[in-house]
């Protein structure tokens, strides 16, 4: 199957600290890929490299066929991104921010798409509220909207559900599954193992920058094993 993300010995060093160490990874088209790892394992750094926000120290990464180090803006044109710390600009209202994103991404029929997201995520009443005055959950809804509003074939999301209540989590999880069933690809990083086990088709486990495991969810669950058992056995050794 076609690879949407391909990394070879991808490494990121900050001085003496190696945040990501020679990670080689393939993410197939249509998969819901979960990058798992404890805090500080290098998940966020990995997403930042894959979206061209930071440059790799060595190795390379191709996203949708583009080299992220050579054409980071090309990559960001094609993908949707939600960072770990959601950060819509403080003094824009929700609607203004989405118009700002829409104008930069040249999205046609923006208002219709925005209305669909307002209905789906139930936050249309906040459209004229400043981003700085939003609750964390509503900010996360806004970031989710800006990441998917241009209908990207790949979205990279850092901790996608962490600010949502259980009802919204269910709704968003269902959206993720249906999104990938349409042939799109989702790359999520999380440390919520139950969520990953529930929705991911493939997983990789990262620990102190090293890739410890990569495989399908079926292979993880072989022999009635849970993802958490595999995760803990790898991370604790």
């Amino acid at each position: 199957m076609e690879s949407i993300i391909e990394t070879k010995s991808l490494t990121k060093k900050y001085g003496d600290l190696t945040a990501v160490n020679a990670v080689t990874l393939n993410v197939r088209k249509g998969s819901l890929f979960g990058l798992l790892g404890p805090n500080g394992s290098g998940k966020t750094t990995m997403i930042k490299m894959l979206t061209g926000q930071i440059l790799p120290s060595s190795g390379n990464a191709h996203v949708l066929g583009l080299d992220v180090a050579i054409d980071p803006v090309g990559v960001r044109t094609l993908v949707g991104i939600i960072p770990e710390q959601e950060s819509p600009p403080s003094f824009l209202t929700v609607m203004e921010y989405l118009e700002f994103v829409g104008d930069i991404r040249k999205i046609p029929d923006l208002e219709q798409k925005v209305d669909w997201w307002f209905d789906f995520l139930e936050y249309g009443d906040k459209r004229n509220v400043l981003c700085k005055d939003l609750s964390r959950g509503t900010r996360q809804k806004l970031m989710l909207t800006q990441a998917f509003i241009h209908n990207p074939e790949l979205a990279l999301i850092d901790e996608p559900l962490i600010n949502f209540d259980p009802i919204m989590q269910d709704k968003v999880k269902a959206f993720f599954v249906s999104y990938t069933k349409q042939g799109n690809t989702l790359f999520i990083s999380t440390h919520l193992l139950e969520t990953a086990e529930e929705i991911c088709s493939e997983v990789a486990i990262l620990h102190v920058g090293n890739l410890l495991y990569t495989g399908t969810m079926e292979s993880v669950k072989a022999g009635n094993r849970h993802l958490s058992d595999l995760f803990l056995s790898l991370v604790r050794t």
Binding site: L55, G74, R76, I82, Q85, F91
Partner: protein, 468 residues
């Protein structure tokens, strides 16, 4: 209290040192000290072309202006500080999660900034002058005295703007009433006595004639506005949800002939809704320049009125260039890094927004030109102001990218900044002293400005997005 104070000092240090290394930050005051040290040896030379009294006025005016430009703490009530470093959570905002009184934290925050500015800008000048005096035979009293009076000049500027910005934080109307009242008092003083109010500036009087009474008076001029400002301070309490009309679409429509309309529209909305367009214009532009004008007027026996005006035009250009900092303080590139944008796109949009803001210095310098009765020189004055403003903007973009307020404290950046600006200003200062119409030649500064912007865009496009 001491614990919080020292932790805030540490935090401020790390904000800068993580951006460009501890050594480059630590060397900043060393550089100021070295400049003052070398300046001491130049004093005999300077005396032959400029009276020492005028030099003293200029140095004090510069420190007063520096105080004005950094003292708008009153705007912190509107969370300016929180936004300055994007998502960084600063200790100044710990009141939200720790059992600490916001005013208590804020007082320590102001104290911390004062200490930083003292050791970065003021003490090094006194120290450099003191060391230089050992070699030049200048009595030790003078460097100690100038250290005292420059500190007081800086603190006066800071405390006055702190008071004004706190008043503005409480009520814009109260500020305008106060400014009109103060303006009338100054005008009345000038009309009835015929003397420049700047001659009443206590640190300047203290420099020429040290006395404990004047020292006490100088301290009161610092402490009284500062204490009132602290009393006026109100922490920004999260307001109830307020709805705002959509300004993005109409602004994009109005700006559609300019590069990157949505980015420029965002800048305009940020400036307007944060209150910065009014606050910064008053505290970081109008107040410092008006006071500087009074001080420069004291030099009119040495400099002709038109040369004074052209010098003032160059100073206005430099201050106007700091509007770039106003535009960069709301976000970092990380806000844009989710979108298909290069750093150069954001820089281009900041230049667009900067250009829109230049209407303020144009209007201001035109008014000063007419009020000083030299309307016939309006064209060279305007050209010089705008050329200097864009040139210094270009130097800032090249050296600091989208982080001008932080990277300026990198000693390497500051040395280059001084050299590039000093070189250009010396040339144009000399040219305009020959003939005021040579101010028109200032337009030539746009050539290196264009080149520096291009260079800066290439440089910052290659840099990684920094965490703030």
């Amino acid at each position: 209290m001491a614990g919080l104070f020292f932790n805030m000092l540490k935090e401020e240090w790390r904000i800068h040192s993580t951006m460009f290394g501890s050594l480059n930050f630590a060397l900043f005051p060393v550089m100021i000290c070295a400049i003052a040290f070398m300046g001491t040896f130049l004093l005999p030379l300077i005396q032959t072309t400029m009276p020492v009294g005028d030099l003293v006025i200029l140095i004090h005016a510069q420190y007063l202006m520096l105080g004005f430009m950094v003292g708008a703490f009153g705007l912190l009530g509107h969370e300016v500080m929180n936004r300055r470093f994007g998502q960084a959570s600063l200790l100044a905002f710990s009141a939200r999660i720790l059992p600490l009184n916001p005013r208590h934290i804020f007082t320590i925050f102001v104290l911390k900034d004062t200490v930083y500015y003292f050791f970065l800008w003021i003490f090094p000048v006194g120290a450099g002058f003191l060391v230089g005096s050992l070699f030049t035979g200048i009595p030790v009293f003078y460097p100690l005295n100038i250290l005292l009076t420059l500190s007081l000049s800086f603190l006066t500027g800071m405390s006055v703007v702190f008071f004004l910005s706190s008043l503005y934080g409480r009520s814009g109307k109260a500020l305008f009433v106060f400014l009109i009242f103060a303006g009338l008092v100054f005008l009345g003083w000038f009309t009835f006595t015929g003397t420049n109010p700047a001659t009443l500036f206590p640190p300047l009087i203290l420099f020429y004639q040290f006395s404990w009474d004047i020292l006490l008076e100088s301290c009161m001029v610092v402490l009284v506005p500062c204490c009132i400002a602290l009393l006026l301070f109100s922490p920004d309490i999260q307001p109830g949800t307020k709805n705002y009309p959509n300004r993005m679409k109409p602004l994009i429509h109005h700006l559609n002939r300019l590069p990157n309309p949505p980015l420029a529209a965002k800048d305009m909305i940020d400036l307007w809704r944060s209150g910065s367009i009014v606050g910064q214009t008053i505290f970081s532009f109008l107040v410092p320049l008006i006071i500087i004008w009074f001080f420069l007027s004291l030099l009119d026996e040495y400099v002709s009125p038109i040369h004074l005006l052209l010098t003032f035009a160059m100073i206005t250009g430099i201050i106007a260039s700091t509007m770039y900092t106003w535009l960069c303080m709301f976000d970092s590139f990380s806000v844009y890094a989710l979108l298909p944008l290069h750093v150069r796109d954001v820089i281009t949009s900041k230049i667009t927004s900067f250009t829109l803001l230049q209407v303020i210095p144009i209007f201001f310098i035109a008014m000063i030109t007419f009020l000083s009765g030299q309307g016939e020189f309006l064209l060279p004055v305007l050209v010089l102001t705008l050329s200097v403003s864009y040139y210094v903007l270009a130097v800032s973009i090249w050296l600091t990218g989208l982080s001008p307020s932080v990277l300026v404290y990198n000693v390497r950046v500051m040395v280059q900044y001084f050299l590039f600006i000093g070189f250009a200003l010396s040339i144009f200062g000399s040219l305009t002293s020959m003939n005021p119409w040579f101010g028109l030649v200032g337009v030539m500064l746009l050539v290196p400005a264009y080149w520096l912007v291009r260079l800066g865009m290439r440089k910052w496009d290659r840099e990684e997005v920094v965490g703030y």
